[in-house]
Subunit: 100 residues, 2 copies
Amino acid sequence: MKEINTFSDYLSDTTRVSTTEREKINFEVELIGKMIEAREKKGLSQRDLAKLSGVKQPAIARMENLKATPQIDTLLKILAPLGYTLSITPIKDTAASNGQ
Amino acid sequence: MKEINTFSDYLSDTTRVSTTEREKINFEVELIGKMIEAREKKGLSQRDLAKLSGVKQPAIARMENLKATPQIDTLLKILAPLGYTLSITPIKDTAASNGQ
DNA sequence: CAGAATGATAACATATTAGTTATCATTCTG
DNA sequence: CAGAATGATAACTAATATGTTATCATTCTG
């Protein structure tokens, strides 16, 4: 049985994870990636973003390190000063996902 | 001073609400609208969707009535069987929003 | 009408996020 | 080097979402 320590391990462990779960993970990875990228592109520190968004620095750090799954209002508060928001979109029906 | 009882009142009260806050509200209204519409279009009851998503019926009801702001994982669990997911998108820079 | 299905909600327990405060190691910067 | 800035994290509290179970009024449906 493989040990799961890193987030990379977690992603690799496809046996246990449902497509819904994997979709959630993909979304979070994509989201956090964009979030960090946008923050750094703007030259903002976590503390800067904390002031702009009203979300505290430790909470931002937790999110960036995938230690917490945010609530959507918290997410939107952080995304807004970075120039992003969320949208609801249809799931792309790829060959891989039409099974379950 | 206007009383604020309904969600409609809340939306009308533009004086007190920041653009970030309003964006959050708009998103939630749009989201919940799509969620309800998609559920009904599929002929699913809240209990059906509960079984499909793994989120309990009372939690779905709370969300549909805007009594709770969901966490993103809960949201994705519910959206998935409805054929939707979330995307991160740039904020449209409208004339109304470029002030603050 | 009788019973099933449905949405809403109450009440409480549990889980998780976010706030708060502080600190630490490391990296910038003068 | 000395100090500031930064990201990470610990420890705890407060706030909130979700689970759980049950019930109720209302609407379907036979």
